[in-house]
Symmetry: C2
DNA sequence: ATCGTAAGCGTATGCCGTACACCTACAGGA
DNA sequence: TCCTGTAGGTGTACGGCATACGCTTACGAT
């Protein structure tokens, strides 16, 4: 009976994501998203309660793009690694919104599906119950932490250079470590830490 | 010759931290910090270039409170664990500013000293060069990720309850895992994941 | 053709960070 | 003792933010 909606929430989320991809997280505002959709600022509020909900929709959208189908057969560590890499790739495609995932990942359907697949792999490997709960949280902690680190000064970036040139008498170990760190790419870094965690999770 | 400063940057940082502790990150504003110091808003800018620098000072202050003296002798894994727990405890005392540490940890003296001590322990354990660089970054990724997770919906909180009540036919593994997760405290969770990572780092 | 509903919009409020121009307290030299 | 240059401290103002509120308007059902 009333006037029909002209947009879906998905379209709103997609517009917001486009703004964030183009102008960064700082450029993401209700005004900017409304302009992206060709509406007035306040019209946006017909689709979203407030900015917080909009951020949730963006995270849902990005996390929903992660392929959560069970990876091909193989050793369980490799299969979990595939899942971790899928998550990392999806977020790398929208690096600007990575900080939002920490606040809004909770309860997102994509995140739940990812967890479901991972716990399934763990269960097949005999990791269940409390051990599975701890393993899943450890994986989430590592993956989200590593992704944020990666987008806030890569291992081979200027930050590492600065550390490598620290006074050798005050920070001898850091200076030496940074020297070696220069040659390490982001992939090797991410996968290296991940495989250590996975080795340890097998008890 | 000119009028002397009446405040140190440390005092400014302490006031800002007090505001954040009391009113949360959302309550942290230049106006609020200036009021905390009993000055006008703009006087604050005599001590700090902009808000970004103020945030850096806060992080420096909190990270500077971490005890970075070498832990007592013992197995290297236990010594690294002590370092991780010290970092976690320091941040837990100021949970509101945890998100700031992701953006401002880089180059903070406290963070450097922490890294120096950790790489020292790793070196004594025979982990050096590229392996040490990867190990350090993995530890930072896990610790920061876990701390953020902890302050954004604990394992035994309402979020877990919601997951435990998910449709069992769509998320069977998650539902079962969440059931077991309910009984896990934050310490057990943090230390469990950490010891897995440390086991794996020993190659 | 009309009418109720909700879409969409304009305006306004109270925050925010901060640029700028001004006044003022103080240490050093006279 | 007074004078003066420097930098500390302040008030005002601007543009941008999220969003509350009330109006207008498009539309599907009658």
């Amino acid at each position: 009976m009333p006037r029909p909606r002209s947009l879906t929430q998905d379209q709103v989320a997609a517009a917001a994501l486009a703004v964030a991809d183009r102008d960064g997280l700082a450029g993401l505002s209700m005004r900017a998203v409304a302009k992206e959709l060709g509406m007035s600022t306040m019209a946006l509020y017909r689709y979203v309660r407030d900015r917080d909900e909009l951020e949730g929709l963006i995270v849902d959208l990005v996390l929903g793009e992660v392929d959560t189908s069970p990876p091909p057969d193989g050793p369980w560590r490799e299969r979990v690694e595939v899942m971790a890499v899928r998550m990392r790739d999806a977020l790398a495609a929208h690096a600007a919104i990575v900080p939002l995932t920490m606040t809004h990942r909770h309860g997102s359907p994509g995140s739940l599906r990812w967890g479901e697949t991972v716990t399934g792999i763990l269960a097949q490997a005999g990791i269940e119950g409390r051990a599975a709960a701890i393993a899943l949280r450890a994986l989430i902690a590592y993956v989200t932490g590593a992704i944020q680190l990666e987008h806030l000064g890569a291992l081979s970036g200027t930050g590492t250079d600065a550390i490598a040139e620290l006074p050798g008498d005050v920070f001898p170990n850091m200076a030496k470590t940074a020297q070696h760190a220069r040659g390490i790419g982001p992939d090797e870094e991410f996968l290296g830490g991940l495989s250590a965690l996975l080795r340890g999770l097998g008890s």
